[in-house]
């Protein structure tokens, strides 16, 4: 699977889920399964109404980190295609935030790889959400449930140490 070249984009603009999913199987007959996930801005955060979300990111690192996990996914599952698009900037409730799409011959690989990428995007990709509400702005706290979700994939996958 070394040949897999993931599509990774970090952008302010909206994306087209259907078009991105279609690209993963267009012109080929080995893809039998495409799984996608779209994250959407809700109108509440921890039970409080919000008016918008602003996503800050670490340019350069965020792309590298996503590509690293995309490549990790490709060594774990027989993937035939993989797309991650994550927006940054101000996003209002109801708008899309990010998407993942995975293609494989069979459904289990596509589903598992999509879940794996989501768990790592939540906990390892350098994005930070700030919410706007009637009481001002506030940084969203990281959720322990997301760390726990990411842990389940962590066999020998260690914190990357710089030597």
């Amino acid at each position: 699977m070394a040949a897999l070249v993931p599509t990774v984009r970090v952008q302010m603009e909206r994306f087209d889920l259907g078009a991105e999913a279609d690209k993963l199987s267009a012109g080929r007959t080995d893809v039998g399964a495409v799984a996608t996930f779209t994250g959407i801005c809700r109108g509440d955060e921890n039970g409080q109404a919000i008016t918008a979300l602003t996503l800050e990111h670490y340019p350069g690192m965020v792309e590298e980190e996503i590509v690293r996990h995309a490549q990790e996914a490709a060594t774990r599952w027989p993937l035939l295609g993989l797309t991650v698009i994550h927006r940054y900037g101000r996003i209002v409730p109801g708008e899309q935030i990010m998407m993942v799409a995975t293609a494989s011959s069979h459904r289990q690989a596509a589903f598992e790889a999509a879940e794996f990428l989501m768990d790592f995007l939540k906990t390892r990709a350098p994005f930070w959400k700030q919410v706007e509400s009637s009481t001002g702005t506030d940084w969203v706290d990281a959720k322990q449930i997301d760390d726990a979700a990411a842990e389940r994939w962590r066999y020998p996958y260690e914190e990357r140490e710089r030597s």
């Binding site: 670490y58 935030i97 990709a125 700030q130 940084w139 914190e159």
Partner: protein
């Protein structure tokens, strides 16, 4: 050693600047020691680093731990736990 420091999210807000270039004293060997040194640079730094346990760091765009050596780093970033996705 001259190194670029970058701050994100509330670490950036508390310190008040997104990045700066500093000369690191030779005795600072690890990321953890660098956090301790930064915390003593003023009120805003003390506030940003008041709870070192929640601070995450990256050297040259790769996640690192407090024990990681800073030797040779060009860019060191500090930020809260990530909340993307």
């Amino acid at each position: 050693m001259s190194v670029t420091l970058r701050y994100f999210a509330w670490v950036r807000e508390r310190i008040g600047i997104p990045e700066e270039t500093v000369d690191l004293p030779a005795e600072i060997a690890t990321v953890g020691q660098l956090v301790g040194w930064l915390a003593q640079r003023g009120e805003e730094y003390a506030y940003a680093f008041e709870n070192p346990a929640v601070i995450r760091a990256a050297i040259d765009r790769a996640h690192v731990t407090p024990a990681t050596a800073v030797t040779g780093a060009r860019e060191i970033a500090f930020f809260p736990p990530m909340t993307g996705g």
